[in-house]
Symmetry: C2
Subunit: 291 residues, 2 copies
């Protein structure tokens, strides 16, 4: 149970976490802080948070748990502002999609207090953003990855783990570097492919006809191109090396696939598609649905 | 109304068409022909077709309409077999995902009878295959593209158009070349991207962790990698030039995106993602759903 929770950034993720913890009876008071007054007011009206503070110091003064639910590119600045006003007992965590850069920023900003910072990343979301899209069951059965460092206080780690479990999530730990390399392939790369496909179509001579002929395959493949451009720019910049490496691998593989098509190498194509399909089919079980 | 309909290949598409036309009361008797006896028996048991013939000549003898619902790579052979046994009044159409190669095969095989061949492509399907997956509403509100040639008999074109409209589809016409270039971008390219992503993950050192961390974005982006490998090999070989061209464009675009990430060019990334998202958002209206 968290007596006083402060969420910095009441968007899809921050708002959904507040809703989930309320529904679970796991939180006393929820304070919100953010840049957009309109968004904070909406969060109060929707009953997602109890109160708003317009100064960061006031927002975190009595907080037991502080969640940074901001685009990765904003983390450094907010951590700098947070350091001098943080209560001794407060645990701080974040929800950023990239971990090594956030860990570095937190270590630099928080210094000795870094032991109370638990880097985290819930593998959940939709292509929507904003508190209006938040939902209490967003994290149910979803994975949350925590990337504790050697300095991380075990009690702080336990507190953050318990919070996510109360929200319905399954918690796992990884090193920050492993997280960033794995997520580059499982999440960041698919987003780049969707944006790149959508942008190819926008600039194609036949773009109207292509959109008219878009069926469910195109729709599903490009759904995540509806994601927030600022958030994804930040992820690209923060996970630059791992993402560029897997993009180069993807491009090499696509070159081999294109060459097989140009050569008419049906055997290679059939073998590759069969291997890919086999592994994709095993994922359906994981998601508990057809396709 | 079609008195006698023969469907060659009772899979997802052929089976769904039979179901749709029955539900609409638009068909008298449906005869099935195919390679797999087990599949044909299942189609009879499911009530998808009325009867089975084991010789192609018997299957098409009295047919008013013959639908070739086979992988593109099988079209040439079946058209050659069909030519000598086709009744004078029969209209023939196909559902192939590539049109120029089917048109060429039909023209060569059917000769004067080519006027009664109407090339077609319903833009519908799922990543599943087989008659068990067929459904009467598969084509409802979906687009069907017909690609008539200069020789095509207008009455045959009208008959095929009316059949698809009875199945609930919206019919449009394009030239075969336009169809193949547009579908290379709207359908064939997304399938290649999904197969290529799935195959990268299969061969990745972290493949288990990547699959464990796969969230809804990864799931949706790779759904169509569950498609039938034989069908997609055939499409690649049949639409080789148009598909290779758009793959090369995609790869060039991905090179620019990767370079922007490596240079840390946040402005370029934000602009590109914003443009892509804007167009993707307009698609949600078309599909009548969120995302």
């Amino acid at each position: 149970m968290i007596e006083k929770l402060t969420i910095i950034g009441i968007g899809l993720i921050g708002g959904s976490l507040a809703r989930a913890l309320r529904d679970a009876g796991y939180v006393g008071e929820v304070t919100g802080y953010g840049r957009s007054v309109g968004n904070l007011q909406q969060a109060v009206e929707l009953g997602v948070i109890d109160r708003v503070e317009v100064s960061l110091a006031d927002a975190v003064r009595n907080a037991d748990m502080i969640v940074l639910a901001l685009p990765v590119g904003c983390m450094g600045e907010i951590l700098e502002q947070l350091a001098p006003v943080l209560a001794d007992h407060a645990v701080v965590t974040d929800v950023g999609s990239v971990k090594a850069s956030v860990v570095a920023a937190a270590r630099a900003a928080l210094k000795a207090r870094f032991a109370h910072f638990v880097p985290g990343h819930p593998l959940a979301g939709t292509e929507q953003s904003g508190v209006a899209a938040s939902q209490a069951d967003l994290f149910r059965q979803r994975r949350v990855i925590l990337t504790p460092e050697s300095e991380t206080d075990p009690a702080a780690l336990d507190a953050v783990r318990a919070m996510w479990e109360a929200a319905g999530a399954q918690v796992a730990t990884l090193s920050a570097a492993d997280h960033d390399r794995i997520l580059a392939a499982s999440s960041h790369l698919p987003h780049m492919l969707a944006y790149n496909l959508m942008d190819l179509v926008v600039r194609h001579d036949d773009h109207r006809a292509i959109l008219e002929c878009a069926a469910t395959g195109f729709r599903d493949t490009t759904r995540i191109a509806g994601g927030d451009p600022v958030m994804w720019r930040d992820i690209c910049l923060a996970n630059r090396d791992a993402l560029a490496a897997v993009l180069r691998q993807y491009k090499d593989d696509l070159e081999a696939l294109t060459a097989a098509i140009e050569k008419g190498d049906g055997e290679w194509l059939l073998e590759t598609f069969t291997r890919a399909k086999h592994t994709r089919d095993t994922l359906n079980k994981k998601f508990g649905i057809q396709g």
